[in-house]
Amino acid sequence: MTRNTRILMSIVYWAFVVYLFVPLLLMVLMGFKDSNFIGFPIKSWTLDWYIGVFKDSEVVSVFLYSTVIAVTSTLISLTIGTWISVLLAGRSFFGRIIIFGLTILPAVIPGIISAISFRIFANLLGIQTGMFAIIWAHAVHNVPFVVLVVMARLATLPKSHTEAAMDLGADKIVSFFRVTLPYLKPALIGAGVFCMLLSFDDFVRSFFLGGYKPTLPVLIFSKLRSGMSPEINAIATVVLVMTAVMGIWAERSMRRMGKGT
């Protein structure tokens, strides 16, 4: 690689970093603007919008609502995803590839179509739109990601570990809970946080399956449709910071997994 192309590529790289970060930084800055009008330049600054977010009981309750949905759907995804991974990993049987394909299916369906199909299916089952419907849709959507991460981790579990447990008298259930599950811990943390972020930030499924109470992205969306305001910036910034902190924590957990055990 010549020197010039290398310099060119580093420029493209840093331009890309700027492209990714500048819009978000501007959004954060705008949340400190002491005016109701969104737009540059910012002449005076205030913290009122942020204080307002934590005082606004609607925002706080929607925030809790989104959190409950994210945590519950993640727990379901982790349980089902791990179960499917144990079935698919290290075992060959008739129809294995079909089950794997169907497992991955929700991940490749474009968002809007996934939301519409869940909406129609919920109607068939007589499920009302609202919290339960959203939890169910998020859980289904997140299972493929859990399976991919957990299967990758299971593939590195030495057979001797479970065999040793069995030699010591454990049955398959005990050896799963006392050997396999602890081994999967970093993968489960990583996949779990990833699922929570996906659920917390999901718009299209929450929008079509939600009842009267909005989730956080749906609330931001409906506020946006009635006009931009620094209040939205403040809410979005809180979401941004939380997401980033959780994401970094999960990434570190996954990284430790990559380094071996």
Binding site: F16, L105, I109, T243
Partner: protein, 332 residues
């Protein structure tokens, strides 16, 4: 974290459930010696067939019911003349919903616009991101790679709505870009970036670029630097090295990156509403329209969703096949 079973892993598994240094059996000890547990496990573990059925039952039911069910029901509804069913009326089979797609240009136009948008933006993202991934994988020190990747991942975790809003602030009439251009004296009146094909494309690339970066990065990272060095020793120039060594070896990353970006951009709904205008209506908005109005339009929406899904899956499937045959081709 230690993964080897701790020395006391046999707690309670040993006969009698007693453990070294303690007379009290552990939870697992008590469980494995409980009568009902023994009865069940003795029955299950008696044959591998039983074990397998018990293990496989939940996953099979789940994927058939929760993963495949909604899609099948959507396809079924697309052939009905009314849904949700009215009381006392049995929906009849009809092809009208599918036919209406081909009759009206207000439906076909957004459909092809979506395909054109998604395909061209996928290509643009590939061209834009390839150097970024290459730089990251080949020219950055190993330790720093993870740090830089992590940095790029932060915006990626933030949802569709927040990032779309960030783009609205950047490109608005009183946004940062217009302010800079005005300060520099390049323009007198703000350029209306928003609600055009430009703002929509800008936003979609912003949302999807990381899905291109990750597969490309992991493909490029796997290529040993010795390969290109060997090619250089044999007299290959920079362009030849790229075309004959790096590009063919990164095809897998290109294939999965493009498929991901294409499928995601066809499925976006909030972004075209917030960033697009009347001339950029995408098919997702057309589909959603059938679900906001009275219920009898649902079958048409279901038919259109199925058309979109089939087109997207066939296109990306063909593309992956094509790339797959390319990967295998030159080696023979």
């Amino acid at each position: 974290m230690s993964t080897t079973p701790k020395p006391d892993a046999a707690d309670g598994i040993a006969p009698g459930g007693a453990t070294r240094g303690s007379d009290r059996p552990t939870f697992w000890g008590r469980l494995t010696h409980a009568g009902p547990y023994r009865a069940v496990t003795d029955f299950v573990f008696a044959s591998t067939r039983r074990q397998f059925i018990l293990l496989a039952a939940l996953p099979i039911v789940w994927v058939l019911f929760a993963h495949l069910g909604p899609i099948l029901q959507m396809i079924r509804v697309s052939f009905l003349d009314s849904y949700p069913p009215a009381v006392g009326y049995t929906p009849q089979f009809t092809l009208d919903n599918w036919a209406s797609f081909f009759k009206e240009s207000i439906f076909i136009k957004p459909f092809f616009r979506t395909l054109m948008f998604s395909l061209s933006l996928t290509f643009a993202t590939l061209v834009l991101i390839y150097p970024v991934a290459y730089f990251l994988a080949r020219h950055v020190k190993r330790d720093n790679q993870m740090l830089l990747l992590l940095m790029l991942l932060i915006p990626f975790w933030v949802g569709e709505i927040v990032r779309t809003y960030a783009i609205m602030i950047l490109l608005g009439n009183t946004g940062a870009v217009n302010l800079i251009l005005k300060t520099l004296g390049l323009i007198d009146r703000p350029i209306p970036f928003m609600f055009t094909g430009f703002s929509l494309s800008f936003g979609i690339v912003y949302l999807t670029s990381l899905y291109m970066l990750m597969p490309l990065y992991s493909a490029l990272e796997k290529i040993p630097p010795t390969y290109t060095e060997a090619a250089a020793d044999l007299g290959a120039g920079a362009w030849t090295r790229f075309r004959r060594v790096t590009l063919p070896l990164s095809l897998e990353g290109i294939s999965s990156g493009c498929t991901l970006v294409f499928l995601i951009s066809t499925g976006l709904y909030a972004t075209p509403i917030l960033l697009g205008g009347p001339s950029t209506t995408l098919f997702s908005q057309t589909i959603a329209g059938f679900f906001h109005v009275a219920g009898d339009k649902w079958p048409t929406g279901a038919a259109f969703s199925t058309i979109m899904l089939l087109t997207a899956l066939i296109l990306s499937g063909t593309f992956m096949k094509l790339i797959g045959s390319l990967t295998r081709g030159p080696q023979k």
